[in-house]
């Protein structure tokens, strides 16, 4: 078995689907200019101590990244609809390799979105040390793990006609409660936000302050969500051998 050849075709297939480009890649960039553009002179955005351009760059990179990794759910759902999921069960492909390839493909999409947002950020004057760029990106990729698992979970449970709204809704709720559209700094909302991986996705922008990344709470929340979502996704995949 040649998992890397299999993965290459999966990647090729994903990037050939041009219809996804506008929403996955274009939409977050347009939103970024629309929101961060008018606020680009705010260097201490909403008392966060972070420039608006950096805050929204990371926020929308996170938003686009969430969309991108959840998007694997839409592909899985479409594959199941034509019976391909069952066809794969008749090959030696292991659950582990299946998950790895799905997650890596999703991450490839997410990295394109994140990269585009960084370029957009730079055009609005975002300056970071190269180490900070890397650390920020690494934190975001870790915070996207639970969403990659949720994408696979949804893909194995929903049909193509319901997956779109489910992904859109999931992204919207996590983005809103996690503080992607506006910072959440106090009160009950902050307590809720702290328990969500999307909050820590945005908090990766704190690296831009030269400060620490997440602290213990952040890591615990992200790890707990990743573990929970992965268990559910594996269970959904294991059960999903029926005709749909």
């Amino acid at each position: 078995m040649n998992a890397s050849a299999y993965g290459r075709y999966e990647l090729l297939r994903t990037f050939r689907n041009r219809r996804l480009y506008i929403f996955s890649f274009g939409f977050p960039v347009v939103l970024y200019y629309a929101i961060a553009g008018p606020n680009r002179h705010l260097h201490n955005f909403s008392h966060t101590g972070i420039a608006a351009t950096v805050y929204f760059m990371v926020g929308l990179a996170g938003f686009g990244g969430m969309n991108a990794v959840l998007g694997s759910g839409a592909r899985i759902s479409a594959e199941r609809a034509v019976g391909w999921n069952r066809q794969l069960r008749l090959t030696p492909l292991s659950t582990r390799t299946y998950f790895r390839v799905k997650v890596l493909t999703a991450y490839a999409m997410a990295l394109v979105t994140i990269g585009l947002l960084y370029v957009a950020g730079a055009t609005l004057g975002v300056h970071l040390r190269s180490g900070d760029w890397l650390e920020m990106t690494a934190l975001m990729l870790v915070a996207l793990l639970p969403f990659a698992a949720i994408g696979i979970l949804l893909g194995h449970q929903l049909t193509p006609d319901s997956i779109g709204p489910a992904i859109g809704g999931t992204t919207a709720v996590f983005a809103l409660l996690g503080g992607i559209w506006f910072p959440i700094t106090s009160g009950v909302m902050h307590k809720i936000a702290e328990a969500l991986p999307s909050y820590w996705l945005v908090q990766a922008s704190r690296v831009g302050l030269g400060g620490h990344g997440w602290g213990r709470t952040g890591w615990l929340v992200v790890i707990a969500w990743t573990a929970g979502a992965t268990i559910l996704a594996r269970r959904a995949y294991a059960r999903d051998t029926q005709r749909v």
Partner: protein
């Protein structure tokens, strides 16, 4: 000699909004290596559920499945089973060659992609995107996918659906050639002609059970029944049942309905004895009706 497929006492019940549905109610089938066997039956007979259990895609509630002496999962992992599942599509955004190569990458000892394409008569379409294929071409591609692992057992569930006459013939001739190489074939179909022409043996299923299992000539005799219907108010059923070839006689108001294994003989004698019979219709019983006769209890079918 190596063992082939053994299905023993398979049972499977589904939950459904209308209550439990017993899809498979006790199936025993054995297939020797190298045999070509048709699983023949009308829609809803339990063929696809049986195939699913054979492939390990569903676990039987009762009974056991053995493929080449082990559980189907082992045969799958070894790349020894290839399957065309019922009514499926293919992945889009790849060319025909890319898709077959992608699947080949998953198996320990696959065939060359180009060789596989040639076997499935797809050589001319190798660079075509899969979403641009016709229904019959898609079926051929699915066949190529089933074939690419160079399996010892090929399971085909209604493989010729969507193919035109020409593709069907080409398809079966490929199957025939491959069966000469010692591969084992099991195909599910509701076409008696396909089973008759291409299988060594047919296993007849109806309502979740095997109702007959034997050489296709035997099966053909069993299901080759015709129905004679005529308006004939006064003839006693007992007398009609004695007519040559008649296996069953029924009255429906003024009309009689005869099931006959030799409709020519039955009809000649019928008209000799009852010249007043009119509105005569002779119909080839479909598989479905033939199965009803084999299994008798009709009310369950309506459910």
């Amino acid at each position: 000699m190596e063992t082939g497929i053994e299905l023993r006492g398979l049972k499977k019940t589904y939950r459904s909004p209308g209550g439990p549905v017993e899809a498979v109610r006790g199936v025993d089938v054995a297939v020797r290596p190298g045999e070509t066997v048709a699983l023949l039956g009308p829609n809803g007979a339990g063929k696809t559920t049986t195939v699913d259990m054979l492939l390990g895609l569903q676990q039987p509630d009762e009974g056991s499945v053995s493929v080449f002496g082990g559980p189907p999962e082992d045969a799958v992992r070894a790349g020894r089973i290839g399957a065309m599942l019922q009514a499926g599509g293919v992945l889009r955004d790849l060319t025909v060659r890319e898709l077959v190569s992608m699947m080949a990458a998953l198996f320990p000892a696959p065939l060359e992609t180009d060789h596989t394409l040639a076997l499935a008569k797809l050589d001319g379409l190798a660079d075509r995107r899969t979403e641009k294929l016709s229904g019959g071409e898609t079926q051929r591609l699915r066949f190529a996918v089933a074939l690419v692992s160079d399996p010892d057992l090929l399971v085909l569930d209604e493989p010729t659906v969507g193919m035109d006459v020409e593709s069907r013939r080409a398809f079966w001739s490929t199957i025939h050639d491959l069966s000469q190489t010692g591969k084992t074939f099991l195909f599910a179909t509701h076409y008696l002609e396909e089973a008759d022409a291409y299988a060594d043996r047919a296993v007849l299923m109806a309502r979740g059970r095997v109702v007959a299992d034997g050489p296709t000539t035997e099966i053909k005799a069993i299901v080759g029944t015709r129905t004679i219907r005529a308006t004939l108010p006064d003839a006693p059923l007992e007398a009609l049942e004695q007519l040559p070839g008649v296996t069953r006689a029924e009255r429906r108001g003024e009309a009689i309905v005869l099931a006959s294994a030799d409709s020519d003989a039955s009809l000649r004698r019928l008209l000799e004895r009852y010249p007043e019979a009119r509105d005569i219709e002779v119909r080839g019983a479909g598989l479905e009706e033939a199965f009803l006769q084999l299994t008798g209890d009709e009310e369950e079918v309506a459910a």
